[in-house]
């Protein structure tokens, strides 16, 4: 089976410094791929390049085998959705805001139809936002805003979902809920989910595979067991760590080694 989303030799520079350097990765339908790495490693830049928001200086991003820069923006947006980390907000109601996710399907000039409203409803329910549908998004809490942004991406009914730090500003309950939803979307709905996370233990829990980035390069890509080793993480982040096992599911659990109290 061909990869749903693939990056080949991606290169990007800013002020002479390489932000992305020969980045190579594939995401298959039905899997969650987490992008991890220290601050400034290029996670968000890579996500923007994958979302066709940033044109790489070299290399290609392809969606089901087609170069995204040879496609019009709207067909891309029918297959690929991005839930950005920070969003500028305007006092649209949650329902109107999520309804924007239907534009790639409905077009920009026609009013939403019954199938659009059904998709919006489904997205609101999946993110637990249905009770807040009438509220202006500017009056939501930070966590509710993150869920509204995710709901808008889901309303696009994409095959590839890109999530930029989806758990930032969420309390424990919604961290669990959002990461659980990401897994469900991949495993039950067969989406390709790419997710940037700075919390390595969240990444270990949610991802089928991890890509470790540092200075714009992919240092390692593989299962949590292959990537989350004490040597690799310690060297990349510059902090000695110890790796043990999650008591319930056996995934790696990273603990920084610090002086005893």
């Amino acid at each position: 089976m061909s990869a749903a989303l693939a990056a080949e030799g991606l290169r990007y520079e800013l002020g002479g410094r390489a932000i992305l350097d020969q980045v190579q990765l594939q995401v298959r339908p039905g899997e969650v791929l987490a992008l991890i790495g220290p601050n400034g490693a290029g996670k968000t830049t890579l996500l923007r390049a994958l979302a066709r928001l940033l044109r790489p200086l070299g290399g290609t991003v392809s969606l089901d085998g087609r170069d995204v820069w040879r496609m019009r923006p709207r067909p891309v947006a029918r297959q690929l959705a991005l839930a950005p980390q920070g969003a500028e907000l305007w006092p649209l109601s949650v329902e109107q805001f999520v309804g924007l996710g239907r534009a790639p399907h409905r077009g920009w000039l026609l009013p939403l139809g019954p199938d659009d409203r059904a998709a919006v409803q489904a997205a609101l329910e999946r993110t637990g936002m249905a009770p807040l549908r009438e509220r202006p998004v500017t009056e939501l809490s930070g966590g509710e805003q993150r869920r509204a942004i995710l709901a808008r991406a889901l309303a696009q009914v994409p095959q590839v979902l890109l999530l930029d730090e989806p758990t930032a500003a969420l309390d424990l309950k919604y961290q669990v809920a959002i990461l659980g939803l990401a897994r469900q979307l991949a495993h039950a709905d067969d989406l390709s989910v790419v997710i940037t996370l700075h919390d390595l233990n969240q990444a270990a829990g949610v991802a089928d595979r991890l890509a470790l980035l540092s200075n714009g390069r992919v240092l390692a890509i593989g299962t949590p067991d292959e990537v989350l080793t004490a040597e690799l993480i310690g060297a990349t982040y510059g902090v000695p760590v110890s790796v043990c096992r999650h008591p319930l599911d056996g995934t790696p659990l990273i603990t920084p080694i610090r002086e005893m109290r």
Binding site: L53, A77, A87, L100
Partner: protein
């Protein structure tokens, strides 16, 4: 933040339309000759019946109706253009003149008044229209050519060009002091002496631009979430922004050509409309248009009567009455 009273379109749309009809009827009745609403209604609805006096019919149809319609259309146009720019630039401070339309119109009108350009019988309005469109196209062209193609770049280029153009207008006024009065009266804006020819000239472009802006409601909604989000939803940014600028500027240029520079309606009407219809442009554009029409109709009626027989410039009145009202609405004057 402003208190919110959300109403359904089924309530506010008929209420505003009714308000508009009432205001128009009253406005048709005020002036040098005062007419009761029932006289106005009879003259409007049954001008050929024996009950309608010929003078009343002439006053309503030949002297006042075109002016009233023009004031309503100009108000609707400026308000919807303001709403579109506030959404596109993501700032509550935006008004229709943000990217050079007023400076261009002022220069065009000034040159026409000074006899430097001649565009036929309606030379001042035509020159104002061309000036406004040319200025906006220049600003847009500079922004496109510079490569820094963002809403912020558009705003900055607009501010720069507006400053240059108004400096040129000031210079021309200084050098031609006999025409200062006429130029100044035009700059202040108003409907004095406007009738069917001005309505025939400015009405159609205002209606076309208004329709385009309403059609662009969803792209406007997407742009309020930021340019990057709009792009990730597949919006072709340049096409959408170009269409919004074109539609808003068509409306603004046609409005300015008809009535000079009338400030404040384009800034305030969208804020008033948001109080009851929310911020989604599918509702905000028509609601702003109705509010703007109503406000300018009322302002023009007051301008005609407050110090009769002299007319006040409507632009001065909208600022004098609208400014304090707007401050109060923002919550600085009353309880919060």
């Amino acid at each position: 933040m402003i208190g919110r009273l959300r109403l359904r379109p089924a309530i506010w749309a008929p209420a505003l339309a009714l308000g508009l009809v009432v205001a128009a009827t009253l406005s048709l009745g005020v002036g040098a000759v005062w007419l009761a609403p029932d006289q106005v209604a009879r003259a409007l609805l049954t001008p050929h019946s024996p009950d309608a006096t010929a003078t009343v019919v002439t006053i309503v149809w030949d002297l006042r109706l075109a002016r009233v319609l023009l004031a309503a259309l100009v108000g609707a146009g400026l308000a919807s253009a303001g709403a579109a720019f506030q959404g596109m630039f993501r700032t509550p401070l935006a008004d229709p003149f943000m990217i050079g339309a007023s400076g261009g119109a002022a220069l065009g009108a000034t040159l026409a008044i000074l006899g430097k350009v001649n565009l036929g019988s309606a030379t001042v309005p035509a020159a104002a229209f061309m000036g406004a469109m040319l200025a906006v196209m220049t600003v847009y062209g500079i922004t496109l050519a510079s490569g820094a193609n963002s809403a912020t770049a558009l705003l900055l280029a607009g501010a720069a060009l507006s400053t240059i153009l108004s400096a040129v207008v000031s210079l021309l006024m200084l050098m031609n002091d006999r025409a200062i009065q006429e130029i100044f009266a035009w700059l202040l804006g108003g409907f004095s002496g406007r009738s069917w020819p001005q309505l025939a000239m400015s009405g159609p472009p205002i209606l076309v631009g208004l329709g385009m802006l309403w059609l662009l409601a969803r792209p406007l909604d997407a742009l309020t979430s930021g340019e990057e989000t709009a792009r990730s939803l597949g919006l072709p940014l340049n096409v959408a922004r170009g269409a919004i600028v074109a539609a808003a500027s068509l409306v603004t240029a046609a409005a300015v050509a008809a009535s000079g520079l009338i400030g404040f309606i384009g800034l305030a009407a969208p804020h008033i409309a948001r109080l009851f219809c929310g911020s989604s442009h599918a509702r905000l554009i028509p609601a702003s248009a109705l509010v703007g029409a109503l406000l300018l109709l009322i302002a023009d009626s007051v301008a005609r009567t407050a110090i009769a027989p002299t007319e006040l410039p409507v632009g001065v009145l909208t600022a004098l009455l609208g400014g304090p009202f707007f401050l109060w609405m923002l919550g600085w004057g009353g309880s919060r």
